[in-house]
Symmetry: C2
Amino acid sequence: MMNSPLLLTNFMQHAARYYPTKEIVSVYATGTFRYTYDDWYKRTSQLAGALRSLGIKKGDRVASFSLNNHRHMELYFGVPCMGAVLHTLNIRLSVENLVYIINHAEDRILFIDEDVYFLIEPFKDQLKTIEKYVIMSQSGVMPQTSLSPVVLYDDLIKDFPETYDFPIDRDENEPCLICYTSATTGDPKGVVYSHRGLVLHSFATGVALGVQETDCSLHIVPMFHANAWGAPFACTMRGLKQVLPGRQILDMATLCRIIAEEKITFSCGVPTIWIMLHSYLESGGAHDFSSIRYLFSGGSAMPRHLIESYEKQYGVMMAQGYGATETSPVVTLSVPKSSMETMSIDEKIDIRATAGMPIPGLDVRLVNTETGKDVLMDGKEMGEILVRGPWIASEYYKDPKQTAITFPDGWFHTGDIGTMSKEGYISLVDRTKDLIKSAGEWISSIDLENAIMGFSKVLEAAVISLPDDKWQERPLACVVPQPDVVKTITKEEIQDYLKDKVAKWWIPDEIVFMQELPKTSVGKFNKKKLRETVIPDILKKRGKA
Amino acid sequence: MMNSPLLLTNFMQHAARYYPTKEIVSVYATGTFRYTYDDWYKRTSQLAGALRSLGIKKGDRVASFSLNNHRHMELYFGVPCMGAVLHTLNIRLSVENLVYIINHAEDRILFIDEDVYFLIEPFKDQLKTIEKYVIMSQSGVMPQTSLSPVVLYDDLIKDFPETYDFPIDRDENEPCLICYTSATTGDPKGVVYSHRGLVLHSFATGVALGVQETDCSLHIVPMFHANAWGAPFACTMRGLKQVLPGRQILDMATLCRIIAEEKITFSCGVPTIWIMLHSYLESGGAHDFSSIRYLFSGGSAMPRHLIESYEKQYGVMMAQGYGATETSPVVTLSVPKSSMETMSIDEKIDIRATAGMPIPGLDVRLVNTETGKDVLMDGKEMGEILVRGPWIASEYYKDPKQTAITFPDGWFHTGDIGTMSKEGYISLVDRTKDLIKSAGEWISSIDLENAIMGFSKVLEAAVISLPDDKWQERPLACVVPQPDVVKTITKEEIQDYLKDKVAKWWIPDEIVFMQELPKTSVGKFNKKKLRETVIPDILKKRGKA
């Protein structure tokens, strides 16, 4: 067979050549911008020309600090296909982390959304390698900014030709994107993606999701999250209409308007968004979901009762994916099998509430961390999830120490503990470090959280481990009540509710009510912060600190 | 990213692990055999053990002489995944060709369908490298045969363990299958497929066809045709139920019974089968096509009026694929785009009657053979179709001379002339060598054939070039009439019918009526044979020979 490299370039050019009139739609606060793959390819070519004129060479890092919009779609392909590496910066990271990763990646150019450039200004002097700032806006008046040198995106590209000789005589293993994990301990760790890895990830997710050219995707996951779960690549490969909601992802009325007007057929998002959307729906918010065939949730566990409500109240099927920045990111999907067609709706929702079954092309094992042996596929025996495959990272960028810990033996050790059913569906039990050991028995913080969140008076709940003299550890629940019961909810109510839901010894003795839970930059419960802030108080009250 | 090789092994093990109860169904004259992916994987493991015990090592060739059945499915994965190379022999090849390719490939073991072993006996002494014959049947009584040494398939494997340590620390470019093109001139040419190529072909066709796990495929294309168009691999990857009709593909009543009983959702086949099936339907044959969502035709052009009849009379959508043994084989698919939804049925059928649009992952060009430049995407300018990509052959096996002709510059030169519409759909005009040049103008033999086959009194028609003193070349039509008009049809009727269908100078002066047309071993019109047999007669009659 020909030694043709797997490059994202093929997807870009395939879309431009065979779907030139298909739309990419970008929604801004000021209005909706729409253009075609043909337009997009021309501007992406201009961008590549501009980068070359700035001296950007093969392997150089170019950073983006942006939400989901059409210019970010140009960067997603223009940077990798001209030979450089796109570093997507999470706009919610701390200043400390941003400075660290920009310097660590040695980014040369920084593209910034037009309404957030002021976030960069305070620490610009700490950025050692940035040579130019580009504000992602149309030509016009440069805002007052201390960033320098600085240029507007459309000014940067406007004088370059609408064709570019994208190199194809390349090694498919060349890096194309880089993304840092939002570490809760230590420095962020960089994952470098290759063209080969992302092409294969696109094929495998395209097959597993059954993505059709007739589909229309709303990219809710921010494009700085693990390449937005690969959707921009898979959708371009297949010539889909793509809708980029920008900052509107937090405005549920607008999101519902987009879904209805653009006839969205599927969308990927984190539970935070689906929970917000659900609240909006429950309050009677206007919507028309008739075009949707699937919603996908990932990043953290989606409460089962919400998956159920989406299906039963709003006629929308929701499935979950599981993965990590290190896995490009899709490892599993929780779509029921055809053999499950005769199941009841509730049984199917049970399946959708799992973390899902591996997609083709990967090897996934659940391993007893003490014996090193694979656990049974019985839905009971717990093991750490190990993943291997062509779109799984083999190392952290310039970080041999963390690499040795996480990739010790050719497998990615996820740090997640789960079970696998005989049908191959994984249920997450906990993070290895979040499991609670009470009197020698394991308590899953996630299972306990889900049980508590099943109580109608509870909005969110996070469970952490509290040191205990008698039982070694006991679960501590941090609970955000529903708005209407903030003043009336009691600890006893929750304990009472749990009585027939979990084992007696799982019921937390301590329950702390909070206004909100601290979250990481990707929307997961920040248990590290919870431990730091909540536990000392409790121990102090107990007179032990 | 991890350096994980792309191997068919992953698809096999994925199916066995996550779809253990899904069925593989094999239909024999004596009844239907059904087993599960779990059973299949166990027997495939036994087969691998047996091959190893016979001394089959990495890269060794193992041949199959078989139609589509469950043992062939075991060979399809067992041979490549244990490290060897499966050579699928076309059972319709001439003895001369069979002897040539078996010796050329240096096949060590020959697996033979139980009802065709007698076809091998006459030339067994010419096979220089075969060490063992295996008759693909269950344990029992060995038939009387001169093949030696010989063993029954189930006897061969029965004592080996149901697990096998399939090697995965391999180079993805290792060969896994080999197939020879059915050459109409010269010796057959071998194409060696790699694991990498077939894994990528499976992903790309899976995405392009929108193959779902809920689908059920009837493999009509014989498994000795270019890996049965990749369907056994793509279907296994996605865990589909697969149905293997064996010799029943020529019995339309049985085929329809299988479609109805097994709830087939899609099937791939050559026009010959779809024409036979259509005749069966037209004669009122029993059928239930309610489960079918698509039929795919390939290998040669499907007459438009039959695609139309399938859709309008029988409610079945049919699309075409284009490719070759050298292309694994899928290059294009003629499924209409979503932007064509508002088209009329007839316009959509026009699209389905083309050779289709390239699938993602390949580069396809149409090149003017005189200027070397790409032709316009205007549906008019003709060019030779050139293909490049990771599942396109780069050479013929041990044949540098033919390799230099067909792969001169990093592209596969298909020898097919076509046009490409602005939407990217290719229409085949002709083979470079079958085009007819009349008075300096090109006549497409294929277009003329299709025009003639549109006449209700015509069953099949092939057009070849007839030397002509005045016009250099003139088209000669070889026509098989419908059975009921064999004795009454006239040349003038056809010429009259063509008057408003093609340019006047395209209308053949000579029309020869025949009982049947010679076909190649893959069911295409054998124009070489037609030229050899028909033209001398005509020239003789004209008194010029």
